[in-house]
Symmetry: C2
Subunit: 165 residues, 2 copies
Amino acid sequence: MALRYPELDLDRQLCFPLYAAARAVVRAYGPLLDAVGLTYPQYLAMLALWGSPTEPMTVGELGERLRLDTGTLTPLLKRLENAGHLSRRRDPDDERRVLLQVTDQGWALRDEVAHVPGELLRSMRLNPDDIPELRRLLDHVLNPPEPGDEPSAPSHEAETLVPPR
Amino acid sequence: MALRYPELDLDRQLCFPLYAAARAVVRAYGPLLDAVGLTYPQYLAMLALWGSPTEPMTVGELGERLRLDTGTLTPLLKRLENAGHLSRRRDPDDERRVLLQVTDQGWALRDEVAHVPGELLRSMRLNPDDIPELRRLLDHVLNPPEPGDEPSAPSHEAETLVPPR
DNA sequence: CACGTTTATATCGTACACAATTGAATCGTG
DNA sequence: CACGATTCAATTGTGTACGATATAAACGTG
């Protein structure tokens, strides 16, 4: 059995609670979004489109915003189109791009889900003080500081979670 | 356009960075686990089996540990079995159960991934002080305190993320 | 000791995720 | 202006997730 490898203990991992918590939250959205016929990733896509300063948005812009690639987005967007929430059409000025436009029905959907974020947040029962703290830590994980960026000085080159463009 | 619904702003959501960060971390594991032919959920399953005080473990126990259901685990475990990392057999004492046993090859795999957690943690570039804090917050999300458990007193009944058994 | 209930997995159907490849449109440079 | 490089989206293939249903084994009670 060699050594004990305490570092492999599931309870010492940071990745596992992160992974499990993300799934738990998506699951918690289930019933609320089911009521309007959306899945959680579809809901995120609608949030991104509703909040975009540049409507219409392209598939690439949406993917950058949600950090999802076209293999995920193309079928998801087709389902949202079939549901009547958005339209997809090639950009006449650049036939490579596909423009995503929220339909009237898609805008109406916004009223129906306006209560959802608050409801979810309440169900998480986080300390109000913990909310910005959790957001800060998650943002850090999503955008790790560059090696030379600031405080800690880990000289030895290592890959970051999100490589610089 | 009705009201502006600031609560629907993607950047105000807590769920989105949680969801995106979890995917980013799984993606970061990709190359490291690829080297030994595991996916991230398969790696978690092996961590759970390696660390189980009660070998052999049943599918149900593993599912409880990882918070995954049989629809996910059964095919995943078959792949691990095909890869030679574990064996699956019906419990002779209760034919409903399936016992999961790590093979010699499965134990050997442990040596090969022992460096992985440390490498990942370094790539996240978290402040050492932030690590227990992030763990605490994620554990809170995974196990929200019961309404009567402690401090805040939100009298009105509301669903928790994880309902009590 | 039958027989309805509960329990443990498996199966099915739908919907992500993402790496890798494809194919068409555009761009940049000579 | 030609033509190779780049960009953008779609497609393909594999592997999760999870609700719902199915099935078989074990259990409990009359």
